[in-house]
Amino acid sequence: MNSKKTVKDIIGTVLLYTALIIIAIVCSGPFIWLLASSFKGAEDIYTLSIIPKEFSLQNYREVFSLLSVGTMLWNSVIITVGGILIDIVFSSLCAYPLAKIDFYGKKLVSTSLIATMIIPAAAGLVVNYLTISRLQLMDNFLGVILPNSVAVFSIILLRQSYMAIPGEIIESARIDGAKELKIWRIIMLPQIMPSIATIVIMDFIGKWNTFLWPLIVLDVDKYPVATGLKYLSGQFNYKFGNVAAGTVFAVIPIIIVFIAFQKYYINTMAGAIKG
């Protein structure tokens, strides 16, 4: 009886692993295949094999001459880092009084922030486009960075971590006559670092991948990688090998950052509804 159960267990485990591996191939296989294709030669590209017959850097050479990959990567870095910096500095400042200071209009500010998460901007792209034109920020990195910089989600997330800090620490600092800005910088900021790390990762993924808004606001020479790829794959006579090599540049930084910080990231995404 006992051994029968064990046999059943082993079969169950084997089946389970088989299923999990098949799902893993479906989910991540396409990326492996992309990477493999980027190293294939032109005559090899339509074959099914995962391993290139001949390891070739031809596609990478060609995509570098076709697109200014270096510039595009740099543009992505400017847009991503700029947006992240604005978000973490402004959001962490903004969330502090919402959590720890009693002030007039607090309810109104909190409610308005939550309202933006419920009511969509029906013509958000159009209105922001008109605003950016009026501010004369077209074809300017600021025009891409500013509209998507401060995220209400970041403010709400940070407010929660401020609230977890015991009030006595702040009170005693206030009694000692410390200014609020000093309290924030010396006492509060170090405590919310884990949340800031989470926001940095989430922002990195979101901003690195953004392609539509840069397409609207910027000219070709300022395109980040994602937008540049959309542009390249929109061209009529592209070679798949070239696009594959270009796509590798768009995907690799994200996958590295994601794998390095996956624990933080996934837990936050899951925790957002877990409460």
Binding site: P120, G124, V126, V243, A244, A250, I273
Partner: protein, 297 residues
């Protein structure tokens, strides 16, 4: 009775000083677009012509616009994604919710599509679905088909193909949320049931599923909102084609604005979607609070 006290007044000044930079950006780029979207739909606003108030003209035009109705129908059809995606995600989450070696690796592999840019995803799948692409090559080699399937170039197949890509990209995300839900169920509950003689199937139906219900509601609502507002996958993979067969509301609205520069009409289309989305979001908000979700606290 509360009198305006000096300390609170001083605190108020400090508070707004802290919030000013963020609020300035949010007012200009988040609040203003929400508020201004409404009147914009009632204007004839184009870059070249004169802007004037035209009442409900944009909406009348919309009701008579065949292309809009194609887009509307397709956006509604896209909701088919929701039950399939949720069911598959729950199944995978159940498989992952065991003490197995290597679950971290599987988590990462399932999640990679979620964090990848839609542009990259579209490039990969366009090539996989190509008449000369991976899927057709495999099917031809196994003699399952005699001529390549025109996944993205057939007016009947293009929309379901986009749905498949959407399901593929969403699996990791929802699986993760359900896994969090399953892991919040105290182990003693299932153990007690097992001791009482319940089999795995029984514990799932009687214990896990009811406790998972708030998560199912929450995920389904998010998923419905995403489905009717679908844009990225259409814009990157088919550009509405072939022959308008993958027009969706958001894409049509975008097109009216940025190809035809008819901003007022685009806003009117966006408002239709906005109303529907808001209704679902209110449900989500109420449910999020009831289900103990902290995101809206």
């Amino acid at each position: 009775m509360e009198t305006i006290n000096k300390k609170k007044l001083k605190d108020t000044l400090v508070a707004y000083a802290f919030m000013a930079p963020a609020l300035l950006i949010l007012v200009v780029f988040v609040f203003y677009p929400i508020v201004y979207s409404l009147p914009l739909g009632f204007y004839n606003y184009s870059v070249v012509g004169e802007t004037k108030f035209i009442g409900f003209d944009n909406f009348k035009r919309l009701f008579a616009d065949g292309d809009f109705w194609i887009a509307f129908k397709n956006s509604c059809l896209f909701i088919i994604v929701v039950p399939i995606l949720q069911l598959l995600s729950i199944l995978i989450a159940l498989m992952m919710n065991r003490k197995l070696k290597g679950t971290t690796l599987f988590r990462v592999l399932y999640y990679i599509p979620v964090v990848t840019s839609m542009v990259a995803v579209s490039i990969i799948w366009k090539f996989i679905f190509d008449p000369d692409g991976l899927i057709n090559a495999i099917l031809l080699r196994w003699h399952l088909i005699s001529s390549p399937i025109q996944f993205l170039f057939d007016t009947k197949l293009a929309l379901p193909t986009l749905m498949a890509v959407t399901i593929w990209q969403g699996l990791g995300y929802y699986m993760m949320l359900y896994l969090a839900g399953l892991q919040s169920i105290p182990e003693e509950l299932s153990e007690a049931a097992t001791i009482d003689g319940a089999n795995g199937w029984h514990t799932f139906w009687k214990i896990k599923l009811p406790l998972l219900q708030p998560y199912i509601w929450f995920c389904s609502l998010i998923s419905v909102i995403a489905a009717i507002g679908v844009f990225d996958v259409v814009f990157t993979m088919t550009d509405g084609g072939p022959d308008k067969s993958t027009y969706v509301i958001n894409y049509y609205s975008y097109r009216q604005a940025f190809s035809i520069l008819d901003f007022g009409y685009s806003a009117a289309i966006g408002l239709v979607l906005g109303v529907v989305t808001t209704i679902f979001s209110i449900f989500l908000f109420i449910y999020g609070k009831k289900g103990g979700g902290s995101i809206y606290e």
